[in-house]
């Protein structure tokens, strides 16, 4: 199997580093993206189609990160892109917001089970921040309960006290409880009686660096009960998992109703729009916020979102993604087992999280991930993955071939673990 080289990637990255802080920043960059070792990863891309993207060296990757979520139907889906192109011909960002915004809001309210209204922005962080402000405006309280291992964006309130640029006052009203722990939540509410505006959580624990954990039986119903009893706004951050578990929202998937629910990544198959949906009782508080943005009412992403959501509903896409994802996970499991590796796969199948567990340092895991990437299978070390509709059976077969060879390479490099090269 060909081992990719990244000479042009390196050259482009060097150019980037001269004019962009850290070259490529954030989750798509080598630091936060955990490109270990960096030499085996593409740094800049050139194009994408279906389930694949190509880097600037011309290397092709079967992409299980899906741009970290936005790609849900396949890159350049013809239906979504046609709707976007059609809208682009007649107007995108102009002074009077396009009626497409109303159509998408109506579609969101019709699609998302807990939604009585919809509010649009651009990124997940925009709408998680809107949700927190809305909850505070509604309750006139300041404290927010988070779940350990959370990620809700990049605004100062979402970060931790030791992050660069964050001051203690930014996070002074943040409270933290462990995932799936009702007793801890009850104690936290009791200890801060009458001061809590909101409880914010992802629908299941899909934090980074750790195996992902589904909600325990009855967990969400109990959370719902506690929030209602104490007048706490229940916010579900569905930015990452939204539309991959259910088009009706992940709260509906787990059998409860959020007061506020946020979406972004998969709304428009890569066109930039995010959305906060809410219940009727909190609509006025949302109306009261001073909260807007230059591009938040652009029409092209709205048109793309309408086409994307319509297509996802027609396909019953979450069921298809689950079916494909189970096949992918089974393929990874078989490749691991055939080569003597303990591969832990956690989380929901359509957002599977991988961990090689033969050592407690993750050295072997990172070596295997790098070996996969440098052979054209784009996975990542410490983040959940994403399935998209364009992944076909032959792609899953390719997944198995690459995973198998990568396991063999790692085993050969570690005879001290794998008994002479292949256990």
């Amino acid at each position: 199997m060909e081992i990719y080289k990244h000479e042009k990637s390196r050259a482009w990255f060097d150019r980037a580093a001269k004019v962009i802080p850290s070259g490529v920043y954030g989750h798509l960059g080598p630091a936060e993206g955990n490109f270990i070792p960096v030499s085996q990863w593409p740094l800049l891309g050139s194009r994408a189609q279906g389930a694949y993207f190509w880097d600037v060296d011309g290397n092709r990757y079967l992409d299980y990160m899906c741009a970290y979520g936005p790609n849900i139907l396949g890159y350049n889906d013809p239906d979504v892109d046609a709707a976007a192109a059609e809208q682009a011909k007649i107007g995108n960002c102009f002074t009077s917001p396009s009626y497409k915004m109303v159509e998408l809001a109506e579609l969101m309210v019709d699609t998302v089970a807990s939604a009585d209204w919809a509010f649009f922005a651009k990124n997940g962080n925009d709408v998680t921040t809107a949700a927190i402000m809305c909850a505070r405006a509604h309750t006139h309280k300041k404290k927010i309960i988070f779940v350990d291992g959370f990620y809700h964006g990049v605004a100062p309130w979402t970060q931790k006290v030791d992050y660069p640029g964050v001051i203690p006052e930014d996070v002074a009203n943040n409270l933290y409880v462990p995932w799936n722990n009702i007793q801890a939540l009850e104690e936290m509410i009791a200890a801060n009686d009458g001061e809590i505006a909101a409880f914010i959580s992802t629908p299941y624990m899909h934090g980074n660096y750790l195996d992902n954990v589904l909600p325990a039986d009855g967990y969400w119903n109990k959370v719902r009960e506690l929030c209602t009893k104490h007048g706490i706004v229940l916010i579900v951050d569905d930015v990452r998992a939204g539309f991959r578990l259910s088009t009706a929202g992940s709260d509906a998937y787990y059998g409860f109703e959020a007061d506020l629910i946020t979406f972004c990544k998969a709304i428009a198959n890569g066109w930039n729009v995010s959305c906060l949906c809410g219940k009727e009782f909190i609509r006025d508080s949302m109306s009261a916020l001073s909260y807007t943005g230059s591009y938040w009412m652009s029409a092209v992403p709205f048109a793309a979102g309408i086409a994307n959501i319509t297509k996802m509903r027609q396909l019953n896409l979450p069921a298809i993604l689950r079916e494909k994802a189970v096949k992918v996970c089974d393929t990874f499991r078989s490749a691991a087992a055939n080569n003597g590796f303990k591969l832990v796969i956690s989380g929901e199948p359509a957002l599977f999280y991988l961990r090689v567990a033969n050592d407690d340092s993750l050295f072997l895991h990172q070596e295997w991930v790098a070996a996969c990437v440098s052979r054209g299978l784009f996975i990542t070390s410490h983040h959940n993955h994403f399935l998209n509709y364009a992944v076909a059976d032959e792609d899953i077969a390719f997944t198995g071939e690459v995973a198998d060879e990568a396991f063999k390479v790692v085993a050969k490099n570690h005879p001290e673990v794998f008994d002479g090269g292949c256990a």
Binding site: P21, G23, I36, P37, V161, D162, S361
Partner: protein, 251 residues
């Protein structure tokens, strides 16, 4: 900046690096040659208590302040920090017969350490000096990380998120330190760990130096591969947040 945390840094990261100074610098060793074994302790009220032993040309830093030849009680962390900064004078209550060592040899050692840690461009032009200075800085920083993780309020928050195990903090083909975490309490050993759970390694001595001096950006270095990280990245990620605070204390 928390004065208690700074006092622990001054005790164990700064004075503690006298251990390595004597290993690396012949002039430092010569200051201690043919001298009787001696111990010097600082007893800082509300802060660290540490003893430096001087035996056979070697220096060791030990926790605690018992049975020493020269004892220097210090009334507060602020006062101790002022002593280390040269803005206050240490006054021993025990060991007046060794006052000559304190005034002459110990002062010469600390002056030499300062020369390495606050090095001039001229001195750094000498490759031998450059290598020693950078190695000593690695030890100062790696010990300071543990003190900040254990005593600084924000550092404690970072340490709270670090799982148990050893992190290797090293320069490729060069010196290394182990930052050990157990129940979110950090400690540093100035050696390479046998079984690290995570490794943060600088490609060259020059790169490490540039990073220590704030002349290059760590994230950019990860991007170009001159800093490599592997293993339990959440250990390194949180250590890096503490590392960010080292400059605040050592500036």
């Amino acid at each position: 900046m928390d004065q208690k945390t700074l006092a622990y840094i001054n005790m164990y990261a700064i004075l503690g690096t006298l251990e390595n100074l004597c290993e690396l610098d012949p002039e430092a060793r010569a200051l201690l040659s043919n001298k009787k074994p001696l111990s010097l302790c600082f007893d800082v009220k509300g802060g660290p208590k540490g003893t430096l032993t001087f035996v056979d040309g070697k220096i060791r830093m030990l926790a605690g302040a018992h049975n020493c030849d020269i004892k220097i009680p210090v009334s507060s962390c602020e006062k101790f920090n002022a002593i280390i900064d040269g803005k206050a004078t240490p006054i021993p209550v025990k060991g007046f017969s060794h006052i000559n060592f304190l005034l002459k040899d110990f002062t010469a050692l600390t002056d030499l350490l300062t020369k390495y840690l606050r090095a001039s461009e001229e001195d750094l032009a000498d490759p031998v000096f450059f290598a020693r200075s950078t190695e000593l800085m690695l030890y100062v920083i790696s010990v300071a990380i543990s003190q900040i993780g254990d005593y600084d309020e924000i550092g404690q928050f970072s340490a709270h998120l670090i799982p148990d195990g050893d992190v290797s903090f090293s320069i490729k083909n060069g010196p290394a330190a182990t930052i050990h975490c157990k129940d979110h309490v950090l400690s540093t050993e100035k050696r390479r760990p046998l079984e690290p759970r995570a490794i943060m390694e600088f490609e060259t001595l020059e790169l490490a130096r540039a990073l220590f001096d704030g002349k290059v950006n760590a994230l950019a270095c990860i991007g170009n591969g001159s800093i490599s990280m592997r293993g339990m990245i959440n250990m390194i990620d949180n250590l890096n947040r503490i590392l960010d605070r080292v400059a605040l204390y050592l500036a």
